[in-house]
């Protein structure tokens, strides 16, 4: 009986390990295949670094990767800021039209991106926004917004509004309430929302595909269009580099900054 109490968290950890293994299986395969010299991904693996050498000489793929990064960073900042403001309003106030506003968040995630992409292309063409990096940022922010709002709102729902009132009654100004009370509480939600926004933008290919101008593309666009020619292992190579780099970056962040907060 006493053993059961000890083993429950242990089971939990093993389970967590299994889920992580499932999540990382295809990523490990991708990394392994980037070192496989067979273009057809034959097994067993014939180890080689030729795709990394090829990648170093592939200016187009590297430029596309840089564009993706720029767009994703700008999108993350704008979407997180605008989305959080909306979440706060949804949480603090009851007002007419709120339900409609909440419903309006669903079309961007329900309607297949292909249709939104086509619609954006035509509309931007009509109103003169055109295509290019600026158009892609416009589109990406719109797609990331609902995710930010849903995630931050979910976090806010566990927030006790009396905390805000208490702070106010103790004489705190509105901005002090937001900064010293609300913000620390929703910080993990903000961080998660920013991660989402970044992922949505960094991974978005349909919208970018329609809004890219010739010669200026993003990584997913390059990947998507290259499928017809051949899904070259260079793509596995650059994906491996990106995932390794972001893992190092995020774990570094986790090392120095506690965003989850211990209570």
């Amino acid at each position: 009986m006493t053993r059961r109490r000890i083993s429950l968290p242990a089971i939990g950890r093993v389970y967590l390990g299994l889920v992580l293994a499932f999540l990382y299986l295809p990523i490990l395969v991708m990394a392994a295949m980037s070192f496989n010299s067979s273009k057809l991904y034959r097994l067993p693996i014939d180890w080689s670094t030729q795709w990394y050498v090829a990648l170093a000489g592939n200016d187009k793929l590297i430029a596309a990767g840089t564009n993706s990064l720029i767009i994703a960073v700008v999108t993350t900042i704008i979407a997180t800021a605008l989305g959080t403001a909306v979440s706060l309003v949804f949480f603090r106030y009851r007002f007419r039209g709120k339900a409609v506003m909440q419903l309006l968040l669903f079309p961007p995630i329900t309607i297949p991106w292909l249709i939104i992409g086509t619609a954006m292309l035509i509309f931007f063409f009509w109103v003169g926004i055109g295509r290019g990096l600026h158009a892609m940022i416009l589109g990406h922010v719109a797609l990331a917004l609902p995710y930010v709002i849903v995630v931050v709102t979910a976090r806010l729902h566990s927030f006790d509004p009396t905390l805000e009132e208490a702070a106010r009654s103790l004489g705190a100004k509105a901005w002090q309430v937001s900064w010293r009370v609300t913000f620390p509480w929703i910080a993990p939600g903000l961080f998660a929302a920013a991660l989402f926004a970044f992922a949505v933008s960094f991974d978005q290919f349909v919208i970018s595909y329609f809004l890219a101008v010739p010669g200026v593309s993003t990584l997913p666009v390059e990947i998507y269009t290259s499928i017809r020619k051949g899904f070259t292992p260079e793509i596995n190579a650059i994906s491996t580099i990106i995932i390794t780099f972001s893992m190092a970056l995020l774990l570094g962040v986790a090392r120095f900054y506690r965003f989850g907060g211990e209570r």
Binding site: L40, R42, L121, I129, I137, P214, R228, K229, F231
Partner: protein, 355 residues
């Protein structure tokens, strides 16, 4: 707040615009719209072209003919050269998406096969809207390790021997055309849709999966997922030469689907002069022979180019065989109503395929 936000957005857009403009204003360039990896973007050729003419070539790609048309419609003045399947050339010209070509500037034009040069889809009201570039055949290829003898009939795709071992492309027009050939009908104007529906439904136990790109096809073949699969002639020769796969392309005795790709100049092209030069470069036998030998290409519309290939090359051995080629039915233009009818039939069939 609103105002500041607006200014930031405008500033961002402007910054992005400046960055784009700076990157593009450097040298004389032309913009080409094509499938990716389909000849025009071979780097060794573009380098030489740039040396010769001082023009650099920028590419944009499409993944379906409809998408190509949409890109032309919504980006007037963005492209110079565009590759269009002959079945769509007339529609593009009718919509005013492409402009007549000054044939005098295309010095290699007279070497192209007259039948293709004077294709009814390319010449409209006496004006030339496209230059024939490459052509090929859609039929099927077999894994020679699974066959003692290369089959000759299209019925092989329906043979229960190959249940669950057939690769098929998820393309409504192609699927219906295959069924039309198998039921002895005109591919451009099938009359008996019930027979086609039955024939396509009979494929249900046969199909292993749908393939959508050459790369996927190669991977599936290499992983031994298929005994035989529908395929394109040019890709089959690439699979053999570039990937060393044991495949043989078959033009069945019942017939096969022929297609012809032409190069056109977009309406309001920013650099029509460069566009003419590039098209001429693309139908030059020098380019084609190198492309087919080193990479693998569809058959050239330029007779001199085909003659420059080694005798054993796929495009001379298979597509040079006039007896075989005579069985090929070429794709004609298709009106939207028929295209829609074909798509509905194919989608209904695919729904039937679901367990």
């Amino acid at each position: 707040m609103l105002k500041r936000f607006g200014r930031t957005a405008v500033g961002l857009a402007a910054a992005a615009g400046v960055a784009l403009g700076a990157a593009q204003a450097m040298a004389e360039e032309i913009r080409v719209l094509n499938w990716q990896g389909y000849g025009t973007d071979e780097p060794w050729s573009l380098e030489k072209f740039s040396e010769h003419t001082g023009i650099s070539v920028v590419h944009d790609y499409f993944n379906s003919e409809q998408e190509m048309l949409t890109k032309l419609r919504t980006n007037p003045g963005a492209y110079d050269v565009v590759l269009i399947n002959s079945a769509f050339t007339r529609q593009a010209a009718d919509e005013g998406l492409i402009q007549p070509i000054e044939t005098g500037k295309i010095t290699h034009l007279n070497d192209t096969s007259p039948g293709m040069r004077e294709n009814a889809n390319f010449i409209i009201d006496g004006k030339t809207y496209a230059i024939p570039w490459v052509w090929g055949v859609t039929s099927f290829a077999v894994d020679t390790t699974d066959f003692t003898e290369v089959p000759t009939s299209i019925e092989e795709l329906w043979d229960p021997k190959h249940a669950g071992r057939v690769g098929w492309r998820d393309d409504a027009v192609e699927a219906v055309m295959f069924a039309a050939i198998a039921t002895g009908q005109d591919i451009n104007n099938p009359s008996d849709f019930d027979a086609i529906r039955e024939k396509l439904r009979a494929l249900k136990p046969q199909i292993r999966t749908f393939w959508s790109s050459e790369d996927e096809w190669n991977q599936f073949m290499s992983a031994n997922e298929f005994d035989l699969a529908t395929y394109w002639s040019g890709s089959a020769s690439r699979s053999k030469t570039a990937f060393g796969l044991p495949v043989e392309f078959v033009i069945a005795e019942e017939g096969a689907i022929g297609w012809l790709d032409g190069l056109s100049i977009a309406k309001d092209a920013p650099n029509p002069e460069g566009a003419h030069k590039f098209i001429n470069w693309m139908i030059d036998p020098d380019f084609y022979v190198a492309w087919d030998t080193n990479v693998g290409a569809p058959a050239s519309a330029n007779e001199k180019a085909n003659a420059g290939l080694p005798e054993t090359s796929f495009n001379r051995a298979v597509l040079g065989d006039s007896e075989k080629v005579s069985k090929v039915q070429f794709m004609g233009p298709m009106d939207d109503a028929l295209r829609e009818k074909i798509l509905t039939l194919w989608q209904e069939t695919k729904t039937y395929y679901q367990e």
